[in-house]
C-alpha cells in the first residue's frame, strides 16, 4: 500500500522530472548517433526471440539493457557485433547501422566489425595463455603493432586503463587464468580495449563478481565512457542506475521503454516498466 503512495508521489513530481528528461535528452542528443537499429527481429529456428526493435545509441554514452530473464537482452546485444552469426539456427532481420554503415551488409567483413565493436562476456574468459599474450592477441591479429615495443606499449596502456597494471605488471608472463575472478574480468576488458574499438558491449560483466570487484568495474566503465560507447546488459538495477546514461527496458522480445536512466527509474512511462523496477515480477 505504501508503494502506491510512493507511486502517486512520483507522478505528482512528473513536471519536474519532465524538465530533467528534456535536459538529459538534449545532452545526449548533442552527441552523434553511433548505432541505429530499425525493426530488428531475431529468430532461433522457428522461435522468435526479438519482435522488431528500434533503438539508437549515441556516441560516448552508456546504455543499460534491463529486463526479466529470457527477454532477449543478450540476443539483441549479440546482434550489434554479429556474434549471433556463430549460432547456426539464429536469423536476424531488419537493419542495424554503425556510423551509417549497415553491419549486415554482405560486403562488410565481420572481422572488421568486431574490431570496431568489442565484447565483454558474462563469465570472465581469458585465454589460457599469459597475461601479456591475452592482451597482445587482438593487436597482433589486426596488425596494430609493428614493433615489439609498440606491442608492449599497447599492453601496458590497456592494462592501465583497465586498472589492472599495478596488480599484474610483475607477472605478465603468468597465465591469465591464474588471476582472481574480478581481475580476470578486468583482463578481458583490457583485452577488448587493446584493439581500440569504438563500441564495447558488455553482457552482465559483473554477475560473477563480488561487490568490491563490481564497484571497481563500475568505476572503470565510468572512465571508459570518455573514449568508448558502451552498451551493458545488467540484472542489477542499482548498477544500471549507477553507470548508465540511458536505460532500455526489454520484455518478451520487445523494447518497452528507453529513456534517461534517472527518469526511467523514477518516472517510468509504461506500466510494465514500473512493475519490473518496483519488483513485481522478473
Amino acid at each position: 500500500m505504501s508503494n502506491d503512495k510512493l507511486q502517486t508521489a512520483t507522478v505528482t513530481s512528473a513536471d519536474i522530472n519532465d524538465i530533467k528528461l528534456q535536459e538529459s535528452l538534449a545532452a545526449t542528443a548533442a552527441q552523434p548517433v553511433k548505432i541505429t537499429a530499425r525493426d530488428v527481429k531475431v529468430f532461433y529456428g522457428d522461435n522468435q526471440a526479438i519482435h522488431g526493435i528500434d533503438l539508437d545509441v549515441y556516441q560516448n554514452e552508456v546504455v543499460a539493457f534491463i529486463g526479466p530473464s529470457g527477454c532477449g537482452k543478450s540476443t539483441f546485444l549479440r546482434c550489434l557485433n554479429r556474434m549471433n552469426d556463430t549460432i547456426d539456427i539464429c536469423r536476424v532481420t531488419g537493419e542495424i547501422k554503425l556510423d551509417d554503415r549497415n553491419i549486415y551488409d554482405p560486403t562488410l567483413d565481420v572481422v572488421q566489425l568486431r574490431a570496431q565493436v568489442g565484447m565483454v562476456f558474462q563469465k570472465p574468459n581469458p585465454f589460457p595463455k599469459s597475461i601479456y599474450e591475452n592482451i597482445a592477441y587482438g593487436p597482433k591479429l589486426h596488425g596494430l603493432a609493428e614493433k615489439k615495443s609498440d606491442l608492449d606499449d599497447i599492453v601496458e596502456s590497456s592494462l592501465r586503463r583497465a586498472g589492472l597494471w599495478n596488480e599484474v605488471k610483475d607477472r605478465l608472463n603468468q597465465p591469465g587464468t591464474g588471476l582472481s575472478g574480478g581481475q580476470q574480468q578486468r583482463l578481458c576488458i583490457a583485452r577488448t580495449i587493446a584493439v581500440s574499438p569504438e563500441v564495447i558491449l558488455m553482457d552482465e560483466p559483473c554477475s560473477a563478481l563480488d561487490p568490491i570487484a563490481t564497484s571497481i568495474i563500475e568505476e572503470l566503465i565510468d572512465e571508459l565512457k570518455q573514449n568508448f560507447t558502451i552498451v551493458i546488459v545488467t540484472h542489477n538495477m542499482q548498477q544500471a542506475a549507477r553507470v548508465s546514461d540511458r536505460t532500455a527496458f526489454f520484455h518478451l522480445g520487445n523494447l518497452i521503454e528507453i529513456g534517461a536512466t534517472n527518469e526511467l527509474f523514477t518516472n517510468p512511462k509504461q506500466k510494465r516498466t514500473e512493475d519490473y523496477i518496483t519488483g513485481r515480477y522478473g
Binding site: T86, V111, F127, Y137, L141, R191, T192, V195
Partner: protein
C-alpha cells in the same frame, strides 16, 4: 499477491522430516556400501585377470630370450674357404660393372661349405665325433653357416685365422636342455638321437653349451629351415612400416576430418548421415576392412600382396574413425567461451580454431591418435586377408616389400609344429608386442602431460 504466496501449502513438521531422513539414510548407506563392494570386486577381478595373463606370458616367454648357445673355436681353413680376391673398384670402372663383379664375388663366398668349418670346430670339443658324423651335423642349427659366410664377407682377411664364436644350437637341443621335453620318453619319441643327447648333456656340464642372450630373436627374420634362429626382425619392421603409414595417413586425415566436421560443416541431413556412418565404421569388424583392402588396394590398384603399405592402408581405414571420434569429442570439450573470446576480438573462425581451440585440444587429439595407432598395431585379422600371413624369410627393406607383422608372427609361431620350442618363442614375441604397445601408451601419457603442464 505473488505467485509463490498463492501456492503455499502446509509443510510437514520438522521432527517428522528428520525421522524420514533418518529412515532413508540407512537405506542409502546400504546401497552405497553395496555399490562400493560391487565396484571393488570388479576392479579386483580385472586386476587378477591381468596379473594372470602377465604371469603366464612372462613365465613362458622370458626364458626364450636366452637360448642354448655353443662356444666353438672356428678355424677358417684356407683349404675349405677357397675364395677369389675381393674386387676393388677401378678408377675407370663404372658403378654397374663393379656391382656385377662384387655380386659374383659374394656368390662365390656363399658357395663355400661352412658346415665343414663348424664340424671341424665341434670335433675339437667332442672326442668321439668322427664315429658319428650324422649326429654331429645336428648340433649347430643350420642357419649359423650363413653367419660364418657373413663374417667372411665382412672381413675376408679372416681366412687362415681362428675365431671363437657363439653359435646357436639346434632348437631341439634348446628344448632338451631347458627341460621342455620329458627326458624319460623312449628313443623313438625323442627328437634327438641318444648320442646327441649324451653329447649335449656333457657339453652343457663342461660349459661349452650355455644359455646366452638370444640376439637372433631380435636380429633375424623368421626361418623354417633353422628354427633356432627364427627371429622377429622381419615382423617388427613390417609392423613399423605399417605404423608409419597409419601415422602419416590416418592421423592427419582423421584430425582434419574431425576439425571440419566439428567446426565448419553445416549441420544438415548430409552431415548427420556422415556422422552416423563414421560411428558405424568404428564398429565394423576389422576382418571386413581386410576384405576391402584385398579387393581395392590389391585388386584395383595392383599394390603388392603381403606388403606393409597395403597393411598400413587397411589399418588406416580402420583407425580413421577412432581418430575422428576422439578428436571430435576433444574439440567438443573445449569451452565455447574461448572461441567466443577470440571471435569477439575479431579473429576469423579459422584463427579462433587454430590459435586457441586446437592448442588446447592437442593432448586429447594425441591421446586419441596414439590409442588408435596402438590398436592398429595389435590388429591381426585384416592382415591375414591381404597375404601378410605368408612366410617371409627376409627383413623388409621398405614398405613395398613382402613382410609380416608382429601379431601375425605370433599367430604363425603359435601354430608351428615344434610346440616345445615355439611355445616360449610365441610368448617372447607377445612380450615384445606388449612392450611396444606399452611404450606407445607411455608416449601418449608423456605427450599429454607435456602439453597440459603449460596451464
Amino acid at each position: 499477491m505473488t505467485v509463490a504466496e498463492t501456492e503455499k501449502k502446509p509443510l510437514p513438521a520438522p521432527s517428522k522430516v528428520q525421522q524420514k531422513v533418518q529412515q532413508s539414510l540407512a537405506r542409502r548407506q546400504r546401497q552405497e556400501k553395496l555399490f562400493r563392494g560391487v565396484g571393488i570386486s570388479a576392479v579386483a577381478c580385472s586386476l587378477l585377470l591381468v596379473a594372470l595373463l602377465f604371469i603366464n606370458i612372462f613365465s613362458k616367454g622370458l626364458p626364450a630370450f636366452w637360448q642354448a648357445t655353443i662356444t666353438l673355436d672356428i678355424y677358417f681353413d684356407p683349404a675349405i674357404v677357397k675364395i677369389p680376391e675381393q674386387p676393388v673398384q677401378g678408377a675407370e670402372e663404372s658403378d654397374n660393372d663393379f656391382r656385377e663383379r662384387d655380386l659374383a664375388w659374394r656368390s662365390a663366398v656363399g658357395m663355400v661349405n661352412y658346415n665343414r668349418l663348424i664340424q671341424a670346430g665341434l670335433e675339437k670339443v667332442i672326442p668321439d665325433a668322427l664315429q658319428h658324423r650324422r649326429d654331429l651335423a645336428r648340433i649347430v642349427t643350420s642357419g649359423e653357416r650363413f653367419a660364418l659366410r657373413d663374417l667372411v664377407i665382412a672381413d675376408p682377411t679372416l681366412v687362415g685365422q681362428t675365431k671363437t664364436l657363439h653359435l646357436l644350437t639346434d632348437a631341439n637341443i634348446d628344448v632338451w636342455l631347458k627341460g621342455n621335453i620329458d627326458r624319460s620318453l623312449p628313443d623313438a619319441q625323442q627328437q634327438l638321437s641318444a648320442k646327441v643327447r649324451e653329447w649335449v648333456d656333457q657339453l652343457a656340464a663342461e660349459g661349452v653349451i650355455q644359455n646366452r642372450f638370444s640376439f637372433a630373436l631380435f636380429m633375424n627374420p623368421d626361418s623354417r629351415s633353422s628354427l633356432a634362429s627364427a627371429g622377429l626382425a622381419g615382423a617388427f619392421m613390417g609392423s613399423l612400416y605399417m605404423m608409419l603409414v597409419v601415422i602419416l595417413l590416418a592421423v592427419p586425415m582423421g584430425v582434419a576430418a574431425a576439425i571440419y566436421l566439428e567446426e565448419f560443416a553445416p549441420k544438415n541431413k548430409l552431415t548427420d548421415l556422415v556422422e552416423v556412418n563414421i560411428n558405424n565404421l568404428a564398429a565394423v569388424p576389422s576382418i571386413v576392412f581386410g576384405l576391402l583392402g584385398a579387393a581395392v588396394f590389391i585388386g584395383w590398384f595392383n599394390l603388392p600382396m603381403s606388403a606393409p603399405v597395403v597393411g598400413g592402408l587397411v589399418l588406416s581405414l580402420m583407425t580413421l574413425p577412432t581418430v575422428i571420434i576422439a578428436t571430435r569429442s576433444t574439440l567438443k570439450a573445449i569451452p565455447p567461451s574461448i572461441r567466443q573470446a577470440a571471435l569477439g576480438l575479431g579473429a576469423s573462425k579459422m584463427q579462433a580454431i587454430f590459435h586457441h581451440v586446437l592448442p588446447l585440444a592437442i593432448p586429447g587429439i594425441l591421446t586419441g591418435a596414439i590409442i588408435g595407432v596402438a590398436q592398429a598395431l595389435g590388429e591381426t585379422a585384416p592382415l591375414l586377408l591381404i597375404g601378410m600371413k605368408s612366410f617371409v624369410a627376409s627383413v623388409p627393406a621398405g614398405p613395398f616389400e613382402q613382410s609380416t607383422a608382429l601379431p601375425v608372427q605370433i599367430y604363425l609361431w603359435q601354430g608351428n609344429e615344434l610346440r616345445n620350442f615355439f611355445e616360449a618363442r610365441t610368448s617372447a614375441a607377445i612380450i615384445v608386442l606388449l612392450a611396444l604397445m606399452l611404450s606407445l601408451n607411455a608416449l601418449a601419457i608423456w605427450l599429454r602431460k607435456k602439453y597440459e603442464k603449460r596451464w
